[in-house]
Symmetry: none
Subunit: 538 residues, 2 copies
């Protein structure tokens, strides 16, 4: 049997932008579009060009290579022709491959919100679809409030969908805008739309999670015939969010109920990047990943002490619904330090550090990491700090230099022109080969000042760190209040193109930053020696 193709449509940058607390910059949007493009999503909806400066700037260029780049916008206004509508013109002129029009399909909303006749709305749908096609763009239509509209007036909801389909829309997307529709209703209504003459190959589903069933509603719609699914990364979106593509994709690809009948544009190899995609997106939003997220959460394949744990280790495939590696995740058995040991040995080997299973220094390292993670360190996100800790425990890392003291000062005062200004300054004392050096620097904030002062004069090491640069700095408060424990993650890079992450934890944000900055410099010096094969000679 030939499998049917399911088309994946991502609306993270449009509907996801409606999430309270989420505000993408143009740079964020460029980064996210690139991730989606590389992962193999068919359609990337980028926003609404013309509605705000961010989206207008984002649509000045095409931002994808493989994925179709989609602009979202309203159908033409009633009372003007398609060629005289400035909003529509903005969509047509944007650097998009496709246009997704939002059209009302609930008669009540047509009358009350649009204030036009039912026929005028149908005309606007047709004219907009035709204008997009004439401009060389793939047209599609989101039928807003379709399911609620269908329950109130099935004939008119169907007329809207048919108007879009007959005018040439590639996709007619049935939207559960308010998110309250149940899977059995989705199944029945999609069935009625197909029976009314719009083939499933032209239908899409757009579900919201207001009853916790956006994924189930999307899959019910697929079972009933639709072939396009709209959703977002990690299920962000208005109110309770949209259908979570990170959850839907592995179900479509790995569960026989779907995988036996359908195929997506993502390869099995590409699917192993799923966990990374989900976590990178959370990083970009500076949110803690959801440990219990299906497939990709750190707990998704974790088993706690109990009746399942020992049996799991014997026959994982009878306790795990899919192999964790298939989605780029891993098994975690929290009771067995045998399992823990194997993980550590594998992690160390990946870094070129060989250690025997019986080596007692390995036990010391495991205990140290557990202890530090309990304090708030997150070595999963800080490769370089983990490697430094491992090398210091299992081997030796040279004491290149020592910071004997530092001082930061932040002062808010009037400047020479009488304006209030906040100035930050840092002073660092460093000892190298018994000789003390003192550096001072100003910066934008105390951490920046400290960073500059630290790297200003490291004596004989100075030339080695000249190509080093800090590229990202993240702060997470691990518990409430200004007395909270703070975790700082710093990303650095150098001229070789290498990037590394370091971590610091303290009840003092400056101290946490200092630890991460120090680890970053020491890691760089260590890496230089390794590259030169000189570790032993140092």
């Amino acid at each position: 049997m030939t499998k049917s193709r399911i088309h994946l449509f991502d609306t993270t940058l449009r509907d996801g932008q409606q999430t309270p607390g989420v505000d993408f910059s143009v740079e964020d949007k460029i980064a996210i579009a690139a991730m989606l493009d590389a992962f193999g999503i068919d359609y990337v909806e980028g926003g609404y060009p013309g509605a705000n400066p961010t989206d207008t700037a984002f649509f000045e260029k095409k931002r994808t290579t493989r994925s179709k780049f989609v602009a979202f916008g309203m159908t033409k206004r009633v009372g003007v022709s398609a060629s005289n509508d400035p909003g529509l013109a903005g969509l047509l002129q944007s650097a998009s491959d496709a246009i997704c029009f939002v059209a009302k399909s609930w008669d009540y909303h047509v009358r009350v919100a649009l204030g036009c006749t039912e026929d005028e709305n149908l005309d606007a749908i047709r004219a907009s679809v035709e204008a997009a096609a004439a401009a060389g763009k793939e047209p599609m239509v989101d039928c807003e409030h379709f399911f609620d509209g269908y329950k109130a007036n099935p004939a008119y909801a169907l007329a809207c969908a048919k108007a879009a389909h007959e005018a040439g829309a590639r996709w007619v997307v049935l939207c559960d805008t308010n998110g309250g529709t149940q899977p059995s209703e989705v199944r029945a209504i999609v069935g009625a739309v197909v029976a009314a003459g719009i083939p499933g190959e032209a239908l899409g589903i757009h579900a919201h999670d207001d009853t916790g069933q956006a994924v189930a509603n999307s899959l019910a719609a697929v079972e009933a015939g639709v072939r396009q699914i709209q959703g977002t990364l990690n299920g962000i979106g208005e109110r309770c969010g949209n259908a979570n593509l990170i959850t839907l994709i592995p179900t479509l690809m790995l569960k026989p109920a779907f995988a036996d009948r359908f195929v997506t544009g993502i390869t099995p190899d590409g699917l192993t990047g799923l966990a990374r995609l989900s976590r990178s997106f959370d990083e970009l939003l500076n949110r803690a990943p959801n440990a219990q997220a299906p497939y990709v959460g750190s707990s998704a394949f974790a088993t706690k002490a109990g009746i399942h744990a020992s049996a799991l280790l014997k026959e994982p495939q009878t306790y795990e619904h899919v192999p964790p590696e298939s989605v780029g995740n891993r098994r975690r058995v929290m009771v067995s330090d045998q399992g823990g040991k194997a993980n550590f040995i594998a992690e160390l080997k990946r870094r070129g550090i060989a250690v025997a299973r019986a080596d007692h220094r390995l036990d010391t390292l495991i205990a140290l990491v557990k202890d530090r993670e309990a304090q708030g360190y997150a070595y999963e996100g800080a490769d370089a700090s983990f490697e430094l800790l491992a090398r210091r425990t299992l081997d030796t890392v040279p004491m290149f230099f020592e910071v004997t003291s530092f001082r930061c000062m932040i002062e808010r005062r009037f400047d020479a022109n009488g304006n209030l200004k906040t100035v930050s300054e840092a002073i660092v004392k460093v000892e190298i080969d018994g000789e003390e050096r003192m550096s001072v620097a100003e910066g934008q904030g105390p951490v920046n000042a400290l960073d500059i002062a630290l790297r200003k004069d490291l004596g004989k090491y100075q030339t080695e760190i000249e190509d080093m640069e800090l590229v990202d700095f993240k702060v997470r408060i691990l518990n409430g209040g200004t007395e909270a424990i703070t975790r700082v993650l710093i990303e650095s890079r150098d001229a070789t193109g290498a990037r590394w992450w370091t971590v610091g934890v303290s009840d003092n944000i400056i101290d946490a930053s200092f630890q991460a900055l120090m680890d970053s410099i020491v890691y760089k010096l260590m890496k230089n020696r390794e590259l030169a094969g000189q570790v032993a000679a140092e």
Copy 2:
């Protein structure tokens, strides 16, 4: 038509205990059982008496009044009689009303994990159910791995369910232990069980969220006949969690697809305590509530989009799938750079600020908010800063006091005992009624020191702010590098129980924190005056 009764079974204290990071004390369990009991849950499963000291202590007394108190445990061991099994004796002697036995129903697991014959397992199920009934306890059986077992060997899985039913189990619970079963499979397999002679009135469903469909699977099972649902508060549980009762209950009670046919033990009035139940449970776990949680999340009835917001306010019932009050939640129309005039007017009205649509100061406020949000301010998360900005723009806010300068110092140095220590100190100069005051304080980090110094001596206002406390502090770096723009959000509370959020943005984290701290204090002073009806008199 008489509605069928759905029985709600909570396993927060048993399966929820398997959640990585969750560890209930006896006191926690007592508190949670009381919440569930008061809410109207039919069955509260408390744990496994005999398996660990906490659960044994918890089962020394009956912990519920209305709900049936359920002990969980394994069926009797093969090779001993029911009366000679110490594990079973522990269950029978516990202060429970009912016993939920877990029984294997996948032939593979019977052979490999139990190491007994298929018939011996059936005998153990029968003997255990009969022993519980003889001890005056309501017996029920969780058929572990039922769906995977049914797919592998339908006859044996059915034989297990039938053995339990025929021996007198009140409920035979079909468990999707590995969580990978799809709703269409649940529907088909439950249908087959009913067809095999076990009526839906004796069947339960236990679903896990490994494909994000635990709620949908539970509801599909109800549609196929089952009348008991097992789940947990906020969906905690092993791996990705169990079916979320907080999501399931309002769907059963408010959605016509279910409410027209079924009834639960919870009253409509009781349902208005749902949001509070969900949040109290998170408080007890010391976790931040999920803003996007269906029905109860703070974003569940929030609207950001300009295109929906103005229409929403006119006809909320056509934009909200259920009324927010029905579950104890509320509508939120967010102020953001996507919002229009209607959003602003509604938000201001909620705060008791009346402003005419044509008032030019409203345009000034909107422009100011957009400008500041472009700089990185996030007013949707900072109610109090928004209100201050609005009142300053539309009205006046007294200049209670002025901070003329401040200075923070962070020093890492050796203390008297020769240990490296990082010390933070802040000095603040404040002018009140022309008089200057200077305060100094040490703190854990510069922000904490600044906070303490700022609130140390505010002269005539000091007594007013004594009950104020900072409860949360969030830092977000808005773009990469240590030179990045930093946004600080601060949550404060006072003795009245009020909580408010303020925001600050700067390239200097200390400056951003200072802004948010200042807003918090000024908001508190303003709020005090408002409460006393003195704003005009000031």
